[in-house]
């Protein structure tokens, strides 16, 4: 039996589905465990430093796996030809070896309650929304309903940093790192501050927007597709999913990847690799989609009986990625241990500008310094949408 130690599919229902519907087909048997990231990391690190352990396969987001990359075995001998190369490259974690194998991917979308459509500003197209229109929309709704109906996942577990890194800033500056303190960035934060006026103040407690959508606290929001799925699955007819808005520099969007690695201490290396192989099978990938709402990393034919959430998000993602102004953004690369602190820069900027109400310019200056220090320390070259750099990615 292989112990699959994963940060993914943590909600109990998803965990259960992973066990019953996804890994159940693996012959040797799988113990799928989805602890919180704290215990996940602690155990992984402990096993690596003890030099022995029980974990066969480590599952996690790109950032999770980065934290333990030193102890991951080389998986180059696994056949990953079905996985798009740029995706597979992420799994090298800036080394020569294949440290992890991409497992599944996802992105972020906008969701609206159908009742919210009544407030959609005139002339606005759901599939080609701009940030200005989004602000007007949220404003109209707040005024019409007597209270803000826009929600944003700014809670402790909310994925707010991804929004700034991959959506807001690129849309205005065309960059994640380089233009961090540019005038465009200043404008972006100004817009967000405007939008925030019409955001439900409880947003700082929102982690998974599906809860607020389902209980009608929020009518319009942005979140990770796995975190809005429940809204579609419980009330399939009440919500619409659509692409994220665009800014002057395009429609920035980020794709996130989860991967599987094998710790060097795995009790049975061969079986662990066999499990990864199994996980990459199209059927398994489909089953994973049903269980977690993460999309396959290999190409599969979508059957008709997919869950409502997939039905709703699939077309929206397609529209978004195919949009003329599409501006794909990659996950941070080469940050290593500093991944978390890199994210924290964006979160801190948000908290200071939006929540603490500090002035935008000085805050950006100050955070830019912090960001630069991190980039210098990591010596990470730029990644999309920033232009490739020699050495550390510069903060202009």
């Amino acid at each position: 039996e292989v112990l699959f130690w994963s940060t993914q599919a943590q909600p109990v229902e998803e965990t259960q589905k992973m066990r019953d519907e996804v890994v159940a087909g693996f012959e040797a048997g799988v113990d799928y465990q989805a602890p919180e990231s704290g215990p996940w990391l602690t155990r992984a690190q402990a096993e690596l430093s003890a030099g022995s352990g029980a974990v066969g396969v480590l599952g996690g987001l790109h950032g999770d796996l980065t934290a333990v990359r030193g102890g991951l075995a080389d998986l180059s001998d696994i056949d990953i030809s079905a996985i798009p190369a740029e995706l597979a490259a992420l799994g090298k974690l800036d080394t020569e070896q294949q440290k992890y194998i991409p497992w599944m991917q996802a992105t972020f979308l906008m969701v609206a309650n159908k009742k919210a459509l009544a407030y959609l500003p005139e002339g606005a197209d759901l599939n080609a929304l701009t940030y200005d229109q989004l602000i007007d929309w949220a404003k109209a709704m707040a005024e019409g309903e007597g209270g803000p109906k826009f929600g944003f996942p700014a809670g402790p577990k909310g994925l707010k940093h991804r929004f700034f890194q991959g959506f807001l800033l690129p849309s205005y500056t065309g960059s994640t790192v380089n233009e961090f303190r540019s005038a465009e960035a200043e404008e972006a934060w100004g817009k967000f501050r405007e939008l925030w006026q019409y955001a439900n103040p409880a947003s700082t407690n929102y982690n998974f927007m599906q809860e607020q959508l389902v209980n009608d606290e929020v009518w319009l929001t942005f979140d990770h597709i796995a975190r809005i799925s429940e809204a579609f699955n419980t009330r399939p007819d009440d919500f619409v999913a659509f692409p994220v808005p665009a800014g002057p520099k395009g429609r920035g969007f980020m794709t996130v990847v989860a991967g599987m690695g094998v710790p060097e201490t795995a009790p049975d290396m061969a079986e662990a690799k066999a499990l990864i192989d199994y996980m990459l099978k199209p059927e398994t990938q489909l089953a994973t989609l049903r269980a977690t709402n993460f999309y396959p990393v290999v190409s599969v034919d979508m059957p008709d009986d997919v869950p409502a959430s997939v039905k709703a998000s699939g077309p929206a993602i397609a529209t978004m990625t195919a949009a003329e102004d599409a501006l794909p953004v990659l996950l941070p690369m080469g940050m290593g241990d500093l991944n978390g602190q890199f994210n924290q820069v964006y979160v801190d900027t948000f908290e200071q500008i939006i929540l603490a109400g500090r002035e935008i310019r000085p805050t950006l200056e100050q955070q830019a310094e912090a960001l630069r220090a991190l980039m210098d320390e990591a010596q990470a070259p730029c990644w999309l949408p920033d232009a490739p750099s020699e050495g550390a990615c510069p903060v202009n």
Binding site: Q10, V12, T42, N215
Partner: protein, 277 residues
């Protein structure tokens, strides 16, 4: 002679009513949140997410059943109980002698010991979990009931020492002396005299040790894989689960703990009215 009665019965009655309503108020204060938890746990997912909420549950068992039908729930429950009981025994077994020594003897280093013991509890466990896990993995205590109980004992022991110390201090040494002259060794005197008199205190620290162990998630999540405790089993993923399941999970966790407290409550009062005069 005058018949003036300064505090007529009506005043005393009024005082009585104030007292009773105070008690009722305190009961409501402690029970209401529990009740609301149960309401949520026994409602349908729609009700849990709806507004305004009903204060009477619809007794829908879907959410609870989800957990009860979870594979291995019973096993996890059993593990939790075992870990908590071992923790209880260890922390009382190790803590009570120390508490006794602190309350009965004067010796150099006494205050320092007491202080240091307390301080062990002032350090966040999640940071200790990594070195502990490494240690356990090396010696083979990983993923065992005993291993987890040892960690939980680290958490509960300082309190056991402290609580038993303060309560042993309240028992007249003279009673023990009497026992000595009646042929008791120190240990016998402790068992026959101090222990029964300190039953409420021992029960208090036992309850506390049990509850600490029962509710501890972090170490449980790190140190157990096959032998998950109920808390690690349910709680670690509650944060990520839909509301109705959160509540059902919380309720499923709270219930056994309440039953345990109910079972030992009489010891909290063991010697009442006898020791008291």
């Amino acid at each position: 002679m005058s018949d003036t009665v300064t505090a007529p019965p009506s005043v005393r009655k009024a005082g009585r009513w104030v007292f009773i309503s105070g008690v009722v108020l305190l009961c409501v204060w402690t029970l209401l949140p529990i009740y609301l938890l149960m309401v949520n746990a026994l409602s349908t997912p729609e009700e849990v997410n709806g507004f305004p909420k009903s204060f009477i549950p619809s007794f829908d068992l879907t959410s609870l059943r989800f957990f009860l039908e979870f594979e291995g729930v019973l096993n996890a429950l059993w593990n939790s109980i075992r870990v908590a009981v071992v923790t209880m025994i260890l922390s009382i077994g190790l803590g009570a002698p120390a508490g006794y020594a602190l309350s009965r003897f004067d010796f150099p280093g006494k205050e320092v010991f007491r202080f240091l013991v307390v301080m062990t509890r002032a350090f966040p466990l999640p940071l200790l979990a990594l070195p502990l896990a490494v240690m356990f993995l090396r010696v083979g205590l990983d993923d065992s009931i005993l291993g987890l109980a040892l960690v939980h004992t680290t958490l509960a022991l300082p309190f056991a020492v402290l609580i038993t110390f303060s309560l042993f201090s309240g028992i007249p040494f003279e009673l023990e002396e009497a026992a000595f002259t009646l042929g008791c060794t120190r240990i016998q005197a402790f068992r026959k005299v101090v222990l029964p008199l300190a039953a409420p205190g021992i029960a208090a620290s036992a309850v506390f040790a049990f509850v600490i162990s029962w509710n501890e998630v972090f170490a449980a999540a790190v140190l157990t894989i096959k032998n998950r405790t109920l808390t690690a089993f349910l709680m670690q993923s509650l944060d990520w689960s839909p509301l109705h399941l959160k509540f059902a999970g919380a309720a499923a966790l709270v219930l056994p703990a309440l039953i345990f407290i109910f079972a030992v409550r009489k010891y909290l009062f063991a010697m009442w009215g006898i020791a008291n005069r």
